[in-house]
């Protein structure tokens, strides 16, 4: 099942005040500019069952948060966590079997189109992410570029 969710594109402020090297500080332009796309994700039946079991009936108060950040041997690392529902601003929310999946707009380009699977194995098992945007993945499966 693929669910699409539309958001408004974020444009960070063009400049903010930064104090540096003493004196009166500078007004510097902000480099960060976030590209945002509408995220769609795919989740296998095995992943849905495992996720439902992990939620333990807390679907009303908790969400699955999938994110990406710098790290690992290939540049970026995935993170998946079941957390108390954060403030929804800035997130795209995808509902799968009554479980809310939160993906932040910042990560939308990197995580758009991912497929979440679950492997029931003593070694190397657990949730796994296949990412069509990744040009290279680390052997451990947690890092991509």
């Amino acid at each position: 099942m693929t669910i699409r969710f539309t958001t408004v594109q974020i444009r960070w402020a063009l400049s903010e005040y930064v104090g540096i090297l003493g004196g009166g500080g500078f007004t510097l332009p902000v480099v960060s500019e976030v590209e945002v796309v509408d995220v769609s994700i795919d989740m296998t039946d095995a992943a849905r069952s495992a996720l439902s079991a992990s939620m333990g009936g807390d679907e009303d108060t908790h969400v699955l948060l999938i994110s990406a950040q710098s790290g690992g041997c290939s540049g970026y690392m995935y993170d998946m966590a079941i957390v108390e529902a954060p403030d929804a601003s800035g997130f795209q929310i995808i509902e799968i079997d009554k479980i809310r999946v939160f993906i932040h707009n910042k990560d939308s380009v990197m995580l758009n189109g991912i497929r979440v699977d679950y492997k029931d194995s003593l070694m190397g098992g657990g949730f796994q992410i296949e990412n069509p945007n990744a040009s290279k993945s680390c052997g451990c499966g947690q890092s991509f570029s």
């Binding site: 930064v18 004196g23 790290g71 570029s145």
Partner: protein
């Protein structure tokens, strides 16, 4: 931008002694200057760079590389800890890619912002075997300072890079502060041109964007010292660890001089070995170049397959 620790004395050129000043020259560098501010910029940079930035403190300096997952060098960054902020100097031509990389992986819950400091700050370099003498001429009040620290005189930051053994000093100051230029004028110190810098950096095997183009390993271009194999994961770490454990560094960077023009790109030498000329310019009646060459090629004269005479330094 960093020079490799080589002795360029035996192929020095006249431009170093064009004034009465110590044997070093001042150059303005068109660097990429960014400022990281907010929630843990050192930890964030540490996930990306080849050097350990995690403990960068106020007044500290760390030089490190940005590499891709194949271990190739994409940029050379110098990080200066200023309170909770970090000034990041990089190669200007590589600025867009590096800034994109630095900002793309900021965790969603971290309030971390990268600012463009190109107009707000200026970067000068003092380069040469008597760089320390020249900075002491400009700033007699300056004392000794280690490679991994900087000293500040008012709003002027002065520091040595970590692998040039005192031959390269970076000066960063606010664009609205003219005290550095005033000292340059008071002491009649020459500021070298871009053309002179090109000659000097090629003598010193100092890589620029022409070498740091995403196709070379750190050791190929004299930057192997900026890779820490003890700091944990960063892009390219697997490749660097494998090269280290197998001892398979096959190339190094060399300076070439010739009385004939030196063509950029790949060139075959007599005997079959090939070199890649990455930068080339002329000075006086000679030509100078930087090349990535097999380690079997060391100092001395060589002939190209088409009969050109090169002197490898």
């Amino acid at each position: 931008m960093l020079p490799s620790p080589v002795d360029a004395d035996n192929h020095s050129v006249d431009i170093m002694s064009k004034s009465e000043s110590p044997k070093a020259l001042v150059f303005e560098s068109k660097s990429s200057i960014s400022i990281f501010s907010g929630d843990g910029p050192a930890d964030h940079l540490n996930n990306i760079l080849t050097g350990d930035v995690s403990k960068l403190a106020d007044g500290g300096r760390v030089d490190a590389l940005v590499c891709d997952s194949n271990g190739r060098v994409r940029d050379v960054l110098s990080c200066f800890g200023i309170g909770d902020e970090i000034i990041v100097l990089g190669i200007y031509e590589n600025m867009a890619d590096t800034r994109s990389l630095l900002t793309a992986g900021i965790p969603w819950n971290k309030d971390l912002v990268l600012y463009d400091g190109n107009d707000a700050l200026r970067h000068f370099m003092i380069h040469g075997e008597e760089a320390m003498e020249l900075i002491k001429l400009l700033y007699p009040e300056i004392g000794e300072f280690p490679d991994n620290k900087f000293v500040s005189i008012g709003d002027v930051i002065v520091s040595k890079n970590s692998i040039s053994h005192g031959r390269h000093i970076d000066i960063i100051y606010r664009s609205d502060d003219d005290s550095f230029m005033a000292r340059i004028l008071e002491n009649s110190v020459d500021v070298g041109s871009y053309e002179e810098w090109e000659v000097v950096r090629m003598q010193s095997r100092f890589p620029s964007a022409k070498e740091v183009d995403g196709t070379h390993l750190p050791s190929d271009i004299g930057l192997g010292e900026l890779v820490s194999l003890n700091k944990g994961c960063y892009p390219g770490q697997e490749i660097h660890a494998r090269l280290d454990s197998r001892g398979s560094e096959k190339k190094h960077i060399v300076t070439i001089t010739s009385y004939e023009p030196i063509a950029l790109g790949k060139s075959r030498l007599e005997g079959g070995l090939a070199i890649e000329v990455t930068s080339a310019t002329e000075f006086g009646d000679r030509h100078i170049a930087l090349a990535v060459a097999p380690k079997q090629i060391s100092k001395g004269p060589v002939l190209t397959s088409i009969g050109q005479e090169y002197e490898i330094a």
